[in-house]
């Protein structure tokens, strides 16, 4: 095993050098005009244990396949160049060779050995990620896929939110991993935040599990990876990794019922008199629909429409007026409200902090 590891560290060095060159080229290509955004995602920039074990395995596999590529490609190029037909040979046929048992045995056995090595390395990572025990103090989240948004429930904390997952950072010596139970309310979806973990599908009648323990704070982007219907493309996902203090503060804020702002009573009436409350819940009011996202703390979220638009006054108004302007095919209907009602309900939404 130590021999294997030594070999793999050498391979890893080569692969990392190649990858470094590769990624610097990619970074050069992909720098967008407004390149200030730190919002790229990259499976080779892991920020959590599962993503990191995967990236390490990937580098190993890339190294092995890279060496195979170089060897076979060299053989191919050599034979094409060396044995190209020349005009003087036109009348003669080359030596007719029918095969060679030794050579063929060699190129059967060597690949088998490579497969064994790759398989053992892979099986170790599969086991380490999939069979990781769940600590009793882990943060538990139930993620439910809907056409085309995410519902996040924290059963131990009594929180329901949507599209933006908040989890605590894991500090050295104080691991606080998050374990997700994955469910679906309708079609198949897939939870993919490349820098935190590999993707796992959300399948109706087939609960799945995944976990992550982010090592540093920040907002990590992802999106639904399994085609789930018309607006699969705009089923975006944001994971906010908070310090332990920030996370605790966020939990306390989310646990409170909705703000009851007397100034927004007109908007609240519009909300409750129309079909809005059939699909949306606002804790502490009669609205308890579950078909759409919970709006109790809508204004604590940076985006609306599953990440399709930033949570600004204008976007919110446009979204309520005509969801298909932002997300054609979204299941939220246009309620055809008058301008006055629209303004009132938007003001109501803006009190839901």
């Amino acid at each position: 095993m130590s021999l294997l590891r030594m070999k793999s560290s050498t391979l890893r060095f080569f692969a990392q050098t190649i990858l470094l060159l590769f990624w610097s080229a990619v970074a050069g290509w992909t720098s967008e005009p407004n390149g200030s955004s730190s919002h790229g995602t990259n499976i080779f920039a892991p920020a959590s244990t599962p993503a990191k074990s995967i990236a390490d395995l990937s580098v190993f596999v890339l190294a092995v396949t890279g060496i195979i590529f170089v060897v076979v490609f060299a053989l191919l190029v050599y034979s094409v160049v060396k044995f190209r037909g020349r005009a003087i040979d036109a009348s003669r046929e080359p030596a007719q060779v029918y095969g060679s048992t030794q050579i063929e045995l060699a190129w059967t056995i060597i690949p088998i050995l490579i497969v064994v090595v790759l398989f053992l390395a892979t099986a170790r990572v599969i086991h380490a990620i999939q069979d990781a025990p769940e600590p009793t103090d882990a943060v538990q989240v139930t993620a439910i896929g809907h056409q085309y948004w995410w519902e996040f429930r924290y059963p131990k904390l009594g929180i329901v939110t949507a599209n933006e997952l908040h989890i605590p950072v894991t500090e050295p010596g104080h691991p606080t991993p998050t374990f997700l139970q994955l469910l679906s309310a309708d079609t198949d979806h897939s939870f993919w935040v490349p820098e935190l973990a590999g993707k796992t599908d959300l399948i109706p009648n087939h609960p799945n599990r995944m976990w992550m323990d982010p090592q540093h704070t920040g907002v990590f982007l992802g999106q639904c990876a399994q085609y789930c219907g018309t607006q699969h493309a705009k089923m975006l996902l944001r994971v906010s990794v908070d310090t332990r203090e920030d996370f605790a503060a966020w939990v306390r804020a989310q646990q409170r019922p909705a703000v009851q702002d007397a100034g927004a009573i007109a908007g609240r009436r519009v909300f409750e008199d129309n079909a809005c409350m059939n699909c949306h819940a606002v804790a502490g009011t009669p609205a308890d629909g579950r078909f759409g996202p919970d709006l109790t703390h809508l204004m604590s979220r940076a985006t609306i429409a599953a990440g399709a638009a930033t949570n600004t006054h204008n976007n919110l108004r446009l979204w309520i007026q005509d969801p298909s302007a932002i997300k054609p095919g979204s299941l939220m209907p246009a309620m055809k409200l008058s301008d006055a009602d629209l303004d009132a309900v938007v003001s109501y939404m803006e009190t839901l902090r």
Binding site: G40, L57, S79, P94, W107, L118, F119, G198, G229
Partner: protein
Amino acid sequence: MSSNAITIPGNQIQSRPWVDELHQWVTTVDHKRLGILYILSALLFLTIGGVEALVIRIQLMHSHNNFVSPEVFNSMFTMHGTTMIFFVAMPVLFGFANYLVPLMIGARDMAFPRLNAFSFWLSFLGGLLLYFSFLGGSGLYGAGSAPDVGWWSYAPLGARAFSPGHSSDYWTLSLLVSGFGSIGTAINIIATIVSLRCPGMKISRMPLLVWMNLVMAGMVLIAITPLSAAQIMLLIDRYLGGHFFDTQAGGSAVLWMHFFWIFGHPEVYVLIIPCFAFMSEIIPVFSRKPIFGYPVMVAATVCIAFVSMSVWAHHMFTIGMNSYANSFFTLTTMAVGVPTGIKIFNWIGTMWGGRIQFKTPMLFSIGFLFQFLVAGLTGIMMAASPFDWQLSLSYFVVAHFHYVIVGGILFALFAAFYYWYPKMTGRMLSERLGKWHFWLFLIGFHLTFDVMHIPGVLGMPRRIYTYEPGRGWDTLNLIISIGAFIQAIAILVFVANLIISYFKGAKAGNDPWDAWTLEWSTSSPPPAYNFATVPTVSSRRPLWDLKHPEDPDSRYE
């Protein structure tokens, strides 16, 4: 080896009225004409599927593009996938098998000529049904629409609750109908090879193309059956109140995935093995050497067929199988790389020490070898299931399977077109246009599909009609789209070559490539009965024996 064909004047009656000519083609049971019909129908659908791909690529050129609506985009990728697999790749390969297998084993036709015609027309009808969904998709209740559930139609998206109207019914019916056609052809190929080989054509002397088509046909029988069963179950769900895949009534979405991929993965090998067959005929002829390690090539093919039946769930690494299942399918998937590697090495072994002639068929074959190598290696990456948890459902996997299907299968097919077109039409394809076709397509291919791996690594999922700016995907997608258009231009050159050469190409003669298998012993195009007298063979390369009586192969076998 007794005789070449005699050219019979009766085959060359000129100036029949075109209605008669059409009638002849529609009612034909001749394996050669049916082969050509398969190929022509595949070219038709290739054009349509190609246009769909271009629509996809225009839409994805930059972020937040509005070239088409999400509904149209979703039906485009569904139709593109379904068309290319079921109505381009399968028919064109069946077409070549139909045309070549009887000629290569010295037979006068397939074993069941009328079943052959029936199978072709079923497949073609399947394609028409699929495209009728553009008109009749929603029946009488609204404007038509094509299916938009993806070419896997994962449950429960294909259930009536999520896919109302009839568009996905047309998808189901077209696959069911063409599936029956495929089963008919597979039975026919097996029966032909088993019972119609000419005297001396022992099973160990069959050309590798025949061997590989035998294996392919066996796999079709095993792979298509679960697909047809699943389609019938889906129809029962949708119209007779069944709950096989209806998750809202306790059905299983995962069951559909298993059914689909236990078809879907062997299907990949159903498509690639006939392409291995083309390579195993073309590379030796243009290297002027016999295939290196014939018995091992046969063994590797059979081995691939067996192992590929147990790898299907590598399409399902993300669905939450337990660690033992993930490990098992990792192992089997990596294992299939071993016999595949043997083949690549044996083709290189065939070129080694040869005198390689860079005619267009050989150029495409070398392209195949290189691209199939890369496709195999990215396949190994995704076989490592944790790596696949990142790569699966991303643009990386789209790049991977297009590397297999375009870089592998389509390149092999182009090689086959340039190699056997002279046999089918009696005229050579233009080498000059052929080289334009090759280089343009090669450049376009690599621009598109090399670059396409990168957005996958950067987190871009497949099947999204648009994406957010600032993710680092814009420039890459623009390059990918440009490559797609270069490929489209190359295809136009190819089609022009097919048409121009049909009328103006150089006369081919019986054996333009100085080849060694029986189809080159008869005239080009062959007469309806193929061979005036049934040939007798005494080695794997009957025409080599004929051309080199002083040093026949039969001495070494």
